[in-house]
Amino acid sequence: MIAVGVMTAVGFASVYIARKSVVSTASLTYAGLFFGLYAVAHLVVRATVPFADPYLLPIVGLLTGVGLTEIYRLNPDDAFKQAGWIVVGVALFTLALVLLRHDYRRLEVYKYLFGITAIALLVLPVLPVIGLTVNGARLWVHFGPLRFQPGELAKVMLIVFLAGYMREKREVLAQGRLKDWGPLLVIWALAMLVLLETKDLGGGLLYFGIFLAMLYMATARIGYVAAGLGLFLVGAVGVWRVTPHVRERVTIWLHPWTDHKVYCPLSGQFDLRQNCESFQLVKSLYSIGNGEYGGTGLGKGTFLTLPAGNSPPHPIIPDLNTDFIYSALAQELGLIGAAALLLVYMIFVLRGMRTSLLAQDGFSKLFAAGLTFGFALQTFIIVGGILRIIPLTGITLPFVSYGGSSVVANFLLLAGLLLVSNRANREMLR
């Protein structure tokens, strides 16, 4: 518990120091409120899950603090909204801990409900009237001014379903009888179809990865993973052939720069690809490169163009504070800061996996490991896309990116891990 205090203090100190370079007067009250919020969250954790892993909450505090700081730097209005979402996230987190503090394994009973709800959530954006297309992907639901990305929540629910189902059927799954695979495959095929329909490639990759990882952990059959990967490759090639959207993503990934002009589907004219489809990726790489070792310093990065002629400055990278927040952070914090941030993510993964290892029952193990692996994979998909390790697909960076749905869903993810960890540690002590 002392570690919690130290970690939180260090986290807040860094956030506070960083904030000071951006705003001077508001920063103190702002940091104070933020600290208060996490103090409350901490007390809730102490009261409901006293044996839970002491690192997870401070890490999340640090990540949201870093994210909030950077969002504030890029767009103060968004930061206030994000702060609101963090409050909502903490509230739901509290609710989840209070409700499930005695035995979260009740969730297992409702696994099918979770599975079907997840699919329903995924389908929501496709529906007319409430569905909304942003940047070519139909991921949003809106009720008046309120917009929500249900896919983020579906992620956590699917993990509950998978953990419950696989725990129950792990032996028979390992034998490979079609009857037992049925429900799994049905829900799975539905999820994938929906993702294909919404063109949410990043989400598809994430869910598929989580599915394979959990399947492997449940059945210990590496063959399933191989078959799954094989299927994925076949599917990927198929999708690549029929979907121009996917083909474009791959082309951008392999050849973001061209020396000669190529057809630009965005403008209908011929242009260099870096001025057209790969614009965002290339500008983001410039941003990262500009950070070098030490970074420009918080608040000193370059995210706007020069005013040229009579046109005022405009953002160099679109969607900077959502999908591309990593390239903003990498520029301002440099290699040292970016690596430190990724190390924080690694510590979170380590603690999450430790929780899974200490857990006594299959559901808890699968649940914790699934959540943790999902967290790691999601980070990899977005940052790896930005760094051109894999094709770029839009998805949020957990706890750091601007986005209410993402923050709320990840707080639930945190609640899940703390619940498992609390139970595991309590039983250990006994």
Binding site: Q274, L285, I288, L304, G309, A339, L387
Partner: protein, 490 residues
């Protein structure tokens, strides 16, 4: 199940570690390549985070280029403002966002941004960067005298052409004016308006003083006379007979611009020929010396090479014979060049005002040509001098004695010849007029090259004015030169 959980955990950690490697790759190894990319706007913006040094006129007080800071996206950016507007624009140039830099803003960019390879500056810039404070460039002080510059600009108002004034003993450029000029403050936002002028010609972005190519007319006789005397083939008293024309290739070439009333001087000497700018005299000198010798002397004065100056290379051109817009170096001048026409400044000669000012300055400085220089000194923000002007000898095109004989001849041209409009009471002025027909009726390019005082020269000037209908060097350009000399000497 624990084994599998561990394995998946390792997979997750490896994925994240790959991200650290990826970030390292882009921020270290690949960074140089990214920074060089044309479309990397961040690098472009970075240039404007530097507080460029101020450019001052020769009085070290009048600011010619200053910074205006603007907060954009959390960064303080520095943009240029030119308090004197078009007055110094051709020399100072501009530094804006959407265009390439020009003038000293371009050629002195390293000094102005503090990235010059001077130990003191490197140290200071590095400290600034480490501290995270704004990098501040060095100030640049020019040799240009603001009062002469303003006067020359005023005298050139409504005319097209250029004025170059040099200090003969040091090579300092005292004034360098081109008209029409542009307003550097409008370049970024109102480009069309920036280059608009009331002068009867276009191309206001062209620095006519160093890149304008003009037929020299009779001002070139300074070079021919220098060759004639310096080779020892002629003396100031060498006799000539002027029938009003000169025979070349069996054809008569008449003397002055008006073919109906050619002046006929009869028996004269070289000095009289120079004083009254008699073409037939120089035609014969040219034929005697040969085109090769005349061109060789032209070269000694700096023709056929781009004159050295601190402005960017592409804003200066070489003087000499031009063929279809390109510098023409005859391999066999005796066959390829008309020596008579060359000698009195026709043929295909094209010269810059700077070059003619250099010829006058070399004669003034007893035959020693000093390297023309525009930058008096570069001063660091802390006040220490980074570099300062050291007068340099560029060459010695002619002997001292030749220079002194030429000076006497040029003095006579002002006291009793074609350049009387340049007389200043109490001061000995030496000068040479020039009027070049451009092949459109009476429309001439008018020249005057001069220096004063003749015994201890302090200023050498070349003035060129384009498209003067019925105007001559002695009537249009000489009065302009006179007023500038007077302003300096009185």
């Amino acid at each position: 199940m624990n084994k599998q959980v561990s394995q998946i955990g390792v997979v997750g950690l490896v994925l994240l570690a790959a991200l650290i490697l990826g970030t390292t790759y882009w921020q270290t190894w690949a960074n140089a390549g990214l920074a060089d990319r044309q479309d990397n706007e961040i690098r472009l913006v970075a240039q404007f985070t530097i507080k460029r040094g101020t450019i001052y006129a020769g009085d070290s007080r009048t600011p010619l280029a200053v910074n205006v800071s603007k907060k954009i996206g959390g960064q303080t950016l520095y943009f240029r403002r030119y308090p004197t507007g078009p007055l110094f624009s051709d020399v100072v140039g501009y530094s804006t966002q959407s265009r390439n830099r020009t003038g000293l803003e371009r050629s002195y960019n390293d000094y102005l941004t503090g990235s010059n390879a001077n130990l003191d500056t490197i140290f200071r810039s590095a400290i600034d960067k480490l501290k995270g404070s704004t990098v501040t460039g060095n100030d640049v002080v020019l040799t240009l005298r603001p009062n002469l510059q303003a006067l020359a600009r005023r005298l050139m108002q409504g005319k097209c052409g250029a004025v170059v004034a040099l200090e003969p003993t040091t090579g300092r450029v005292l004034a360098m004016v081109t008209n029409p000029a542009y307003n550097p403050n409008l370049i970024e936002k109102q480009f069309n308006q920036a280059t608009r002028s009331n002068a009867p010609c276009g191309a206001s972005l062209l620095n006519r003083a160093t890149a304008g190519k003009y037929q020299p007319g009779s001002t070139f006789k300074m070079v021919t006379a220098a060759a004639a005397l310096d080779t020892g083939r002629f003396t100031p008293d060498s006799p000539f007979y002027d029938p009003g024309y000169c025979v070349e290739y069996g054809q008569r070439v008449r003397n002055a611009g008006n073919p109906e009333a050619p002046e006929t001087f009869g028996p004269v000497n070289l000095t009289t020929g120079f004083e009254h700018s008699i073409n037939s005299v120089f035609c014969n000198v040219g034929k005697t010396l040969g085109a090769g010798t005349v061109l060789r002397y032209a070269q000694r004065f700096g023709f056929y090479s781009v004159p050295p100056l601190e402005t960017p290379d592409n804003e200066r051109v070489a003087s000499g014979l031009y063929n279809h817009g390109r510098l023409f170096r005859p391999k066999q001048p005796q066959f390829e060049v008309d020596p008579g026409r060359l000698a009195f400044g026709q043929e295909r000669l094209q010269v810059t005002p700077l070059q003619m000012a250099m010829v006058a300055a070399a004669i003034a400085n007893h035959g020693v040509l000093m390297r023309p220089q525009l930058v008096e000194r570069v001063v660091s923000p802390s006040g220490t001098t980074v570099t300062h002007l050291k007068p340099q000898v560029l060459s010695q095109p002619i002997k001292r004695q030749t220079a002194d004989q030429l000076t006497q001849m040029m003095e006579l041209a002002v006291t009793g010849g074609t350049g009387t409009a340049a007389q200043i009471p109490g001061i000995r002025v030496a000068g040479k007029t020039g009027t070049a027909e451009i092949g459109r009726g009476n429309v001439n390019t008018t020249w005057f090259a001069c220096f004063a005082p003749a015994e201890t020269p302090r200023i050498a000037i070349a003035v060129v004015v384009e498209n003067q209908n019925g105007g001559f060097g002695g009537t249009v350009s000489a009065p302009i030169a006179k007023q500038i000399m007077e302003a300096l000497l009185r």
